[in-house]
């Protein structure tokens, strides 16, 4: 079984191929051209160099967010169309799960934090379990200060990863026992996506391309303003 993973929820764009043997090929770029310009040639590239033909792909996994809206949609629109054309099912995974997974060998509380701009972050809390991580809280959007106060209240050692962690290092490190992971853990990776998608594919936890939904966690500005006016 070959899974194609597509990841565009943050400033990084990535894709990877993998299956039983783990990750067979991957591509990541966190600066340079825009996601929409890079992604399709990158998919072509990893397929070519892993010597995998498109028709061998049996599932398409994609990061459904939360993250940068326009970037997320480039990946999801690409992934949906590929799955539709290949007639294969999809697996949608959250960017926060993808950030937590590579640091699963830490026994501390794990807090992936993605920069949501406008002074807010996307986050959730995780803990190590055999073979991976388990999410303890809802996916949510909040200010870095709100997150810091929650971490203080929990009074546990915590590992923060993600570009939001780096940006708001000063605020978050105020909470005692918090370490902010280095830049190597700052972006969700397509490799982690393929690794996490594989057991789901074995369990046939699929969605169809027309069913896959994005995880925005924030309404559009127009709706926020509308709600505000309605409540006044």
């Amino acid at each position: 079984m070959i899974i194609l993973g597509i990841e565009t929820a943050t400033n990084q764009v990535g894709c990877a191929l993998g299956g039983y043997e783990g990750v067979l090929a991957s591509f990541h770029a966190s600066r340079g051209r825009r996601h929409a310009e890079t992604l399709a040639p990158a998919i072509e590239f990893v397929c070519k160099h892993a010597r995998i033909e498109m028709k061998e792909i049996s599932a398409v996994a994609v990061d459904i967010g939360p993250g940068l809206f326009t970037g997320m949609r480039v990946g999801v629109a690409t992934a949906k169309a590929m799955a539709q054309a290949l007639r294969v099912p999809m697996i949608g995974l959250s960017s926060l799960d993808l950030l937590a997974f590579p640091v699963r060998h830490s026994d501390r509380l794990i807090a992936p934090v993605i920069d949501a701009r406008k002074g807010e972050v996307f986050t959730a809390l995780y803990r190590q379990v055999p073979g991976g991580v388990q999410r303890l809280t809802q996916y949510r959007i909040c200010t870095p200060r709100e997150l810091a106060s929650e971490l203080i209240a929990r009074d546990e050692d915590c590992l923060v990863v993600g570009d939001g962690g780096l940006r708001y290092r000063d605020v978050l490190a105020n909470a005692g026992g918090v370490e902010v992971g280095e830049v190597g853990f700052a972006y969700p990776s397509a490799s982690a996506l393929v690794e996490l998608a594989h057991p789901r594919a074995i369990r046939e936890e699929f969605v169809q391309p027309w069913e896959l939904e994005l995880l925005y966690l924030r309404k559009s500005d127009a709706e926020i303003n509308w709600d505000r006016q309605e409540s006044v």
């Binding site: 399709a40 949609r73 949906k80 590929m82 559009s220 127009a222």
Partner: protein, 340 residues
């Protein structure tokens, strides 16, 4: 790089530049095997205009079923498609990227070329779908909520811009007047409908720059409608709608007609959402008859945003330029490629 094109050459085209999610299969640039348009008008109506973020979200949700329906109606699965096209601009960046990303993905899987299409060029070819024997030179009046352009089309890919709006697009003026009158969004259809019961000569609204050059200005007429109604709150709204429409259409038709005479055009084509306006269609046809010109008015479905016109333009573009590289992005401010 010109490309050899076999016949039939079936293009699956996607259009997501604004608030319509559309897919179509078009053979040889004019034979429309299917054309599916899913409008988001209801989604944006309460905001009085298109909300870019909402439009982008809707495109991601709607595109998969719209593509599926276009293929089914054309009686094809993906392997009967020879190329995949998408609008790459101008338009809303977030919306454009959804269609461009999907089109590239389909072209990768099917192993067929990707063709990036200029949305404005799509409107220019809408007339060719229903009249494949059109003979340039033609004058094309492109009028929508975002554009008002008068273009001399000297051949496929040979465009000269004669004039464009210096402020509001014609459709934008309709929307703003409708909003002021409390008629809702979009403004074009509702003003058109109201105008049928009004007297177009009841109020003499200004016709900016009617007899000079080919540029347009619709900001003044919009303002004078607002000023007039404020001063005369008891005026018949139908008369206001009819007189406003008369002022806009008068300028559009007068300039288009003058342009056709000046460049020695064989005919006049219409494109863009405002081209669905009944008064504009009627007046332009009258002018063509009076001047001995052919008037090509695409059906209303072809005037408003659709993917069939993108498929038609893609066929012409592919023959002259070949496939578009997969590393192209979307360009929200893309200009029509002009000669000279």
């Amino acid at each position: 790089m010109a490309a050899e094109v076999p016949s039939p050459f079936r293009i699956l085209a996607l259009e997501t530049s604004c608030d319509e999610t559309a897919a179509a299969v078009v053979a040889d640039g004019h034979d429309v095997l299917s054309s599916v348009v899913s409008s988001q008008v209801d989604l944006h109506a309460r905001f009085g205009g298109v909300v870019p973020e909402l439009a982008s979200r809707a495109h991601v949700d709607l595109l998969t079923p719209v593509i599926a329906q276009a293929l089914v109606e054309a009686g094809l699965d993906g392997y009967g498609i020879h190329a995949v096209a998408a609008t790459i601009g101008p338009g809303l960046i977030g919306s454009l990227l959804v269609g461009v990303s999907a089109a590239k993905a389909l072209s990768l899987v099917w192993g067929v070329p990707f063709i990036g299409v200029n949305h404005l060029e799509g409107h220019l070819y809408a007339s060719f779908i229903e009249e494949p024997d059109l003979e340039p030179p033609l004058v094309v009046l492109l009028v929508s909520g975002a554009h008002t352009m008068l273009i001399a089309m000297e051949g496929p890919g040979q465009y000269r811009l004669l004039g464009s709006t210096i402020d509001d697009a014609a459709g934008e003026a309709y929307d703003k007047v409708a909003r002021f009158l409390g008629l809702g969004y979009p403004g074009g259809p509702v003003i058109d409908r109201l105008a049928m019961d009004g007297d177009p000569h009841a109020i003499a609204f200004p016709r900016a720059m009617k007899d000079e050059g080919y540029d347009f200005s619709f900001s003044g007429v919009k303002t004078s409608v607002i000023t007039y109604v404020r001063k005369q709150p008891d005026v018949s709204i139908a008369d206001v709608a009819a007189s406003f429409q008369e002022a806009v259409v008068d300028v559009l038709v007068t300039k288009t007609r003058r342009a056709a005479t000046e460049i020695g055009a064989n005919g006049i084509c219409l494109g863009g959402g405002v081209a669905a306006n009944s008064s504009l269609r009627e007046r332009l046809l009258d002018a063509c008859i009076a001047d001995g010109l052919r008037g090509f008015l695409p059906s209303r479905a072809m005037c408003t945003d659709n993917a069939a016109m993108i498929g038609a333009a893609a066929w012409w573009r592919y023959q002259s330029d070949g496939p578009t590289p997969l590393d192209v992005g979307a360009d929200p401010g893309l200009h029509l490629p002009l000669v000279g």
